[in-house]
């Protein structure tokens, strides 16, 4: 009890980081705790998804097994008991490996995401992150792009047309959107001047959340995150109505379950990244005590709670959008990615770099004025962007407005066809 209370006491902010044997011990403890919470959380998210879908459709959702709370446990049990099917002609090693490859990167990305204010102990300061890599964000980008291999290999090794089509779609989709995802984060890195996730959070604690500074980058990142996690409206790799179940058509029991868990794990990771990059991570809003100390256990708990809240909010948005929007057509998906997102991200990088150069030339330090200037620029860009998108055709339905030039071209085709028919008669 005394130890627990001592852990929660306030302490000196300049405490040296923990080292030696306690470092290893606490790292292992952090790993175990994160893994456990993550797995249980992901299991509960499957329940949340079903509940939210039910509520959106005016239903009750699962409410039988333990008032609904034990539904994930029942599902897990069912998946363990089910038969593992092995279709004829599969490539066995890859068929086994694919779910693992899909699952591991989503989990591993978590080890560099800081989830709370540092915890002071008598052995030194414990950073609330499993591994505080100096190249934190690059590590996340590298790992999330590995996830596509699991899906492609699953599609290829299944010896099934639909699975292969799903895998191919996913490779095209994820490669396309990875570019805009990476580019959307460049303005953040420009603003921070560092790729460590801890310094990104620190910068936001002082300079305002990046969702204000870099709203457009946030929107691009969010759309790309939907595509990267294969969630609706970008779930073309799965596409129940066209490809049965896409890349995991041939999978059953726990192997299927791993893909399922991987999808939710990816969703949580993407939400955590959005919270970290654009919503201040574990930063408690409207106070600065969480950034300068004195740190205490209570502060750590509070910041973890805040971070969890932010993640859950984004997870909710993921689900809310899934049960609202229908799937994109494949060409719409591609034209959105290549014709809109990538040029927009590129232009935005140039624009933000220019503004930052101008601000530093005018000798304005990061702070209130800096954030206001950046924020108002973003609002202006957004207004223009929405006005263009509103009238544009890139993400409009097939019956959307046509450019007058296109209209004229189509009319001419019709006229020519009529003339040819008359001449032939």
């Amino acid at each position: 009890m005394n130890v627990a209370y001592a852990l929660l006491q306030a302490a000196d902010p300049n405490l040296p980081p923990i080292s030696g044997t306690p470092f290893f011990l606490f790292t292992v403890v952090k790993m175990i705790i994160i893994f456990t919470i993550y797995m249980v959380g992901v299991a509960l998210l499957t329940l949340a998804e079903r509940k939210i879908s039910a509520w959106i459709q005016d239903r009750h959702g699962p409410n039988r097994v333990g008032k609904g709370w034990l539904q994930p446990a029942a599902d897990g049990l069912k998946n363990f008991m089910k038969e593992e099917t092995m279709p004829a002609g599969v490539n066995k090693p890859l068929f086994f490996l694919a779910p693992i490859i899909a699952f591991i990167p989503a989990l591993t990305a978590w080890c560099v995401i800081p989830f709370g204010a540092p915890l002071p102990t008598r052995w030194g300061r414990i950073d609330m992150v499993v591994a505080d890599l100096p190249v934190g964000f690059l590590f996340v980008l590298a790992l999330t792009s590995l996830g596509v291999y699991g899906i492609v290999l699953a599609g290829w090794s299944s010896n099934n047309k639909y699975a292969l089509l799903g895998g191919l779609r996913s490779s095209a989709q994820m490669v396309s959107y990875e570019i805009s995802m990476g580019m959307a984060t460049i303005p953040v890195l420009l603003l921070v001047g560092n790729v460590s996730l801890n310094s990104i959070i620190n910068q936001q604690a002082w300079g305002g959340w990046n969702v204000v500074n870099l709203t457009v980058a946030f929107l691009i990142f969010m759309v790309a995150a939907f595509a990267e996690t294969n969630r609706l409206p970008f779930d073309l790799p799965e596409a129940e109505s066209e490809l049965i179940a896409g890349y995991h058509t041939e999978y059953s029991a726990m192997k299927f379950s791993l893909f399922f868990i991987a999808e939710y794990a990816n969703m949580v990771t993407a939400s955590a990244l959005m919270a970290t990059l654009f919503f201040g991570g574990w930063d408690v809003p409207f106070t600065s005590r969480d950034n300068i100390g004195p740190y205490s256990g209570w502060l750590t708990l509070l910041s973890i709670g805040i971070f969890l809240f932010k993640i859950l909010f984004f997870v909710f948005v993921f689900m809310w959008i899934r049960w609202t929007l229908p799937r994109f057509r494949y060409d719409q998906l591609m034209s959105l990615g290549w014709k809109l997102m990538i040029p927009l991200a590129l232009t935005y990088i140039v624009l933000i770099a220019a503004i930052m150069l101008g601000l530093s030339a005018a000798d304005i330090q990061p702070g209130m004025l800096y954030a206001t200037i950046l924020g108002s620029t973003n609002v202006a860009i957004l207004l223009i962007l929405f006005a263009i998108l509103d009238r544009g055709r890139i993400i409009s339905p097939a019956y959307g407005r046509l450019h007058p030039r296109e209209l004229e071209r189509m009319r001419q085709v019709t006229r020519r066809a009529q003339m040819a028919a008359e001449a032939g008669r």
Binding site: R59, H60, W323, G400, M410, A417, A420
Partner: protein, 166 residues
């Protein structure tokens, strides 16, 4: 025959993806928040009301003395289009007819309600009841005692004077 393409130029309000998306998100959120207005009926606990003219499994009404009202006139097996009623009449010392055997095969029954309509004593009825399950087919052959033991409400037949049942 030339293929003609009808080119429709719709107004922005109809084709804008962003407006449609925002509208849809609002719609789903409003349904999400309607916590007390769910369409599901939690079946075993809650049951939706069934029509007063519902035609389910049979029931034999009894007199005050606990005997079946049936006088074994033989009208119901005659009118029955599915031929599912088996009736053997008997007669007691005072000359009153009563059914010795009255068996209804609920599997053969098509629930047309003719037996209830034709019965002069208002003895046989079809019931307002739908939860029937048995472990064997024989379990669905109801004998006289079982018909008398049923306690669910009975069908109210259609009344030409009051076609909507008000």
């Amino acid at each position: 025959m030339a293929i003609t393409v009808r080119v429709v130029d719709r107004p922005v309000e109809e084709v804008s993806y962003i407006r449609a998306t925002l509208k849809g998100m609002g719609r789903t959120l409003s349904h999400l928040l309607k916590f007390n207005d769910r369409a599901t009926v939690q079946y075993p606990e809650e049951k939706s009301a069934i029509s007063p003219r519902w035609r389910g499994t049979h029931r034999m009404l009894t007199t005050e003395t606990g005997k079946a009202k049936c006088v074994a006139c033989g009208l119901c097996p005659t009118v029955c289009p599915a031929n599912c009623i088996k009736l053997v009449p008997g007669e007691d010392e005072e000359g009153n007819r009563y059914p010795l055997v009255c068996e209804i095969d609920e599997f053969r029954c098509i629930f047309c309600c003719y037996c209830q309509e034709v019965c002069p004593e208002e003895a046989i009825h079809v019931g307002r009841h739908y939860e029937n399950s048995e472990y064997s087919r024989d379990g669905f052959v109801y004998d006289l005692q079982r018909l008398m033991d049923q306690s669910h409400p009975v069908c109210e037949m259609w009344d030409p004077e009051d076609p909507k049942g008000e």
